[in-house]
């Protein structure tokens, strides 16, 4: 067994390097969530406010159940594993930096506690038209846009307006919610199918951006 010795040395070296990292990861729940979140700030921003440069949405203040669900979908491939999903394909490997369901929960809990920041309005839409179209959406997402956990519908009012349009487009074209087993995705996909065009998407996003936080 010739290679045994060098590999032991390598393992000892790697081990000491790895323990250096592991020592940084606290075991106390909230502190660990905060450290895990450091893997997200590159794109989602230091306080989860999102980044248009990275096309990464604001996630600050999204409910824990929804962040957990989406990160898990990215991990398993229910979201972000479609050839035309440029942004989703970037997020998918990042979800795999979380190695256990417990870590997914911890980082999601941390995200949910960050202060909501949906950024400035970035697109022009007809708010009045958006408001009347939003009547359909309110059944699940709430008239005030705060979402409905029982229906697995996330809050919308704290999302960036550009991200809302991007997601409606993805649902409509099947770039998101392409997996038949993804029931919550399928629900929303059907709804997005009823939004006629890009202009209607912009109107909806413009209206949602006016909902009080």
């Amino acid at each position: 067994m010739v290679p045994a010795r060098p590999s032991l040395v390598m393992m000892a070296l790697l081990g000491s390097a790895a323990s250096g990292c592991a020592a940084e990861l606290p075991t106390e729940a909230s502190a660990r969530g905060e450290v895990l979140f450091k893997n997200c700030v590159q794109c989602h921003g230091d306080s989860g406010e999102g980044s248009t440069l990275m096309n990464a949405p604001a996630i600050a203040g999204l409910p824990q159940w929804y962040v957990e669900a989406q990160v898990t979908h990215f991990q398993t491939g229910w979201r972000g594993a479609h050839a035309d999903d440029v942004e989703g394909l970037k997020m998918r490997p990042m979800s795999r930096t979380l190695k256990s369901a417990a870590d997914v929960s911890l980082v999601s809990a941390h995200v949910s506690k960050l202060a909501v920041n949906r950024g400035e309005a970035s697109l022009v839409g007809d708010v009045a038209k958006g408001q009347s179209a939003y009547a359909t959406c309110s059944v699940c997402h709430g008239a005030d846009g705060t979402g409905n956990e029982a229906m697995k519908a996330p809050p919308l009012r704290q999302l960036n307006d550009w991200y809302i349009v991007a997601q409606l487009r993805k649902f409509k074209t099947g770039v998101r919610a392409y997996e038949p087993a993804d029931a919550s995705g399928a629900t929303m996909k059907a709804m997005a199918g009823a939004v006629p065009d890009e202009a209607a998407m912009r109107d909806l996003a413009a209206y949602i951006h006016t909902l009080p936080l």
């Binding site: 398993t76 479609h82 394909l89 795999r96």
Partner: protein, 229 residues
């Protein structure tokens, strides 16, 4: 033992390994010979109690140079020629000529995923039955494939160690090449050109299948590599 870590999974893997071995053995031979001579001479002519270290005078040095430097130098040049002939042969076999292919597979790299477009049951690319799969590539053992490699955003490199294949992917260009898998199994594909923060976690999986297993996959394809947690 060594074979376990260096599985050869393509028709040309052994040719590339042969070249690497040739270079390794030649340089290894000269390395040990030269270092051996150096250390022997240092030891042989060292200073000891009652002895001064021995140096050459100018006249002796010229004769010494001819014997110890010029002659080996010429022999090394012959080795170089052997390496160049070997390298050009392998290059022309693998890169300059391609055998007739049975099928074309499209490989597209992007931050941070691989999209493989398989020709599907009809064996023709760009038809309705093409199978697009993220981060997984399915091949039939023994078939010759031509690949079309592209990149959507930045530089990437398509590295398939078991094939001994590593090819840069460049945005705006379609680079073609070929491979013929010879070993059934599950192997690694890895991006080998730094491409952003996700570069280190941009692997894909290669499945080389028997004709039966490949037919089963074609009949019931997967569309992305599912990770288990």
């Amino acid at each position: 033992m060594l074979e376990h870590y260096m599985q050869q999974g393509s028709s040309y893997a052994s040719q590339i390994d042969g070249l690497v071995w040739m270079v390794l053995l030649m340089t290894g031979f000269w390395f040990f010979l030269v270092q051996g001579a150096l250390f022997y001479l240092l030891w042989r002519y060292r200073a000891r109690p009652g002895h001064k270290a021995v140096y050459l005078d100018d006249a002796a040095e010229h004769a010494f140079e001819v014997k110890w430097i010029e002659i080996p130098h010429r022999v090394i040049l012959i080795c170089d020629v052997a390496v160049i002939i070997g390298a050009i042969t392998v290059w022309s076999d693998i890169k300059l000529s391609a055998p007739k292919h049975d099928e074309v597979i499209r490989v597209v790299a992007q931050q941070w995923a691989w999209t493989f477009t398989h020709a599907g049951p009809d064996g023709e690319l760009d038809t309705a039955d093409d199978i697009v799969a993220i981060d997984e590539m399915h091949l039939q053992v023994g078939k010759t494939y031509s690949y079309e490699l592209g990149a959507k955003d930045v530089l990437h490199a398509f590295s398939v160690p078991v094939f001994r294949l590593k090819q840069d992917a460049i945005p705006g260009r379609v680079i073609t090449g070929w491979f013929k898998p010879t070993l059934v199994g599950e192997f690694d594909v890895q991006c080998a050109e730094i491409c952003g923060i996700g570069h280190g976690i941009m692997p894909a999986r290669l499945y080389v299948e028997t004709p039966e297993a490949h037919a089963a996959w074609l009949a019931n394809p997967t569309h992305y590599l599912a990770y288990k947690f």
